[in-house]
Amino acid sequence: MAEHKIVNSFVGLQFIYNYRVGEYLDKYLDGLQSKKILGITCPECERVLVPPRSMCGKCNAKTKKWVTLKPVGTLKNFTISHVEIEQGEIKDREKPVIIGQIKLEGADSLLTAKIEGVSPKEVKTGLKVKAVFKDTTEGTLQDLDHFEPVK
């Protein structure tokens, strides 16, 4: 097999995008900053969606009526993640992280979040969990740090 030259395709430019989060996620982030989880209701199917957005695709209706959800729920599904994707590379995590899908009380969609305070060997679906916020919140998704079992 003939070995051909390689043309270096490294481009020494930084591509910065500034994404606007929009009205609904903006309000959700404000909620997280004050340690609250906000959902929004579809006026037609009455589903409470979290994270909130402007439209319900099931009914093609504009969502209305904000609700503050109780920061407690049930673990419905989870995976134990051994890797993370950092800058386009799959890297092993220092220790595995439990990523769960949580049904918050009063919500109709599942929220994806980290689960701590239970070992990967013992975690089970059906577990009752509660939200744990960072001590100092900044209005980012990371303010809601993880969920842990309700003692």
Binding site: L49, H82, G88
Partner: protein, 383 residues
């Protein structure tokens, strides 16, 4: 629709970690050899439908550099920016309109060497929530889907490993495949690098460099070009909501709807009986039983049983991915087109070592994109 559309020719490259040629020459060689096989020139092609991605190629409007290499200089071209099975769908609609008699679909990606998938896949996430939350990616999304299925159907980790073994073995029978292992065992799979439970590296697709071209023709033209055309009997496509937490990851509404449309068009009421072989775009093997159930190829929750009985093997009752599927080689968005080409190979009885036992009369090919297969395309092909 009073016209019928057939696939009259197809060609795949060998799938490699790094192709010896740049993508331009790889694609040119492929198209030229297909045209030679068909004994036609580029002037016989009515329209070109390309399928490539600016992210997978690492440049803006990637196809504009490829026009001469696919033979489309001064010709009629469009590009589908999605799994390449969608491009076949578009080519078919163009022929059905009566505006064209032939269409060439070409798709390529350097998924093995230049732009490996994790670099690309994160761009599929919405930038304002999932990319910021850094929890959902193609691995964790497929893992959550696999977990949900295993909880529901009681599929075991050993059975999941057996599926991966099957695909590596099938790959060993496919001369174009990249990852192949005739003597693979469940232990190999279960000791490979853990990604996100229950998924490990050997459950995952194998990123590869490669390209595939498929030539379509109207009924009249098809009979002129080949003795054994493969007819597009039915097609369906559908897209689900984006939000993982609002989807039933096991039931797969979008795949079910796509299949329903395709079966209706093909006049099939009992796919489990009628479909002789299926080529599915599965990013992880765990999707095989999930898709098979959504497609009605096996009964609900029958995945574990199908695996232990070997029903999904080449020699089994419901062969899935005799080519080894994306686990054996996956040049990203080219996958859907490869599934279609492989299904044609099976229908024509040209698959050689990985030919299913009884040459099928109907075959199913599937393409997808998105986290946990949000968008699905289903083709029913027959001769």
């Amino acid at each position: 629709m009073d016209r019928k559309v057939a696939i009259v020719g197809y060609k795949q490259t060998k799938y490699l970690e790094q192709n010896e040629n740049p993508r331009e020459r790889m694609v040119m060689n492929l198209v030229q050899s297909l045209l030679q096989d068909m004994k036609i020139t580029r002037d016989d092609i009515g329209t070109f439908i390309l399928s490539c991605s600016d992210f997978q190629d690492g440049r803006t409007i990637s196809e504009c550099f490829m026009i001469p290499w696919v033979g489309a200089y001064m010709k009629d071209v469009s590009k589908v920016d999605s799994d390449s099975a969608n491009a076949v769908l578009y080519a078919m609609m163009r022929i059905l309109s009566g505006n064209y008699e032939t269409a060439l679909v070409v798709s390529w990606a350097m998924g093995g060497s230049e732009f490996r998938s994790p670099r690309v896949m994160d761009f599929e996430l919405d930038p304002i929530y999932e990319r910021q939350a850094k929890l959902v990616n193609e691995i964790t999304a497929a893992a959550l889907q696999a977990q949900a299925y295993m909880a529901k159907s009681k599929l075991t980790e050993e059975q999941l490993a057996a599926l991966a073994v099957k695909n590596l073995r099938n790959g060993a029978r496919n001369p174009l495949a990249l990852r192949k292992k005739a003597d693979a065992t469940a232990k190999d799979i279960l000791s490979s690098r853990p990604l996100a439970s229950p998924l490990r590296e050997l459950h995952a697709y194998t990123p590869a460099d490669g390209a595939c071209a498929v030539l379509l023709a109207s009924e009249e033209k098809a009979r002129e070009l080949t003795k054994n055309p493969v007819w597009i009997k039915g097609v369906g496509f559908c897209q689900d909501t984006y939000y993982l937490g609002e989807r039933d990851l096991v039931k797969m509404d979008s795949l079910q709807k796509a299949a329903k449309t395709a079966y209706k068009m093909a006049g099939i009421t009992d796919p489990a009986k009628k479909i002789g072989v299926s080529e599915l775009h599965t990013t992880f093997v765990s999707q095989e039983p999930i898709f098979a159930e959504a497609l009605g190829l096996i009964p609900k929750n029958a995945g574990p049983n199908a695996v232990s009985k070997g029903a999904l093997e080449i020699e089994g009752k419901t062969p899935i991915n005799p080519s080894g599927g994306p686990q054996a080689a996956n040049p990203l968005m080219v996958s859907g087109l490869i599934r279609i080409a492989e299904a044609c190979t099976q229908l024509r009885g040209e698959a050689g070592e990985h030919q299913v036992k009884k040459t099928p009369r109907l075959a199913l090919a599937h393409g997808q994109i998105g986290m946990a297969a949000q968008h699905n395309v289903v083709f029913v092909l027959g001769n």
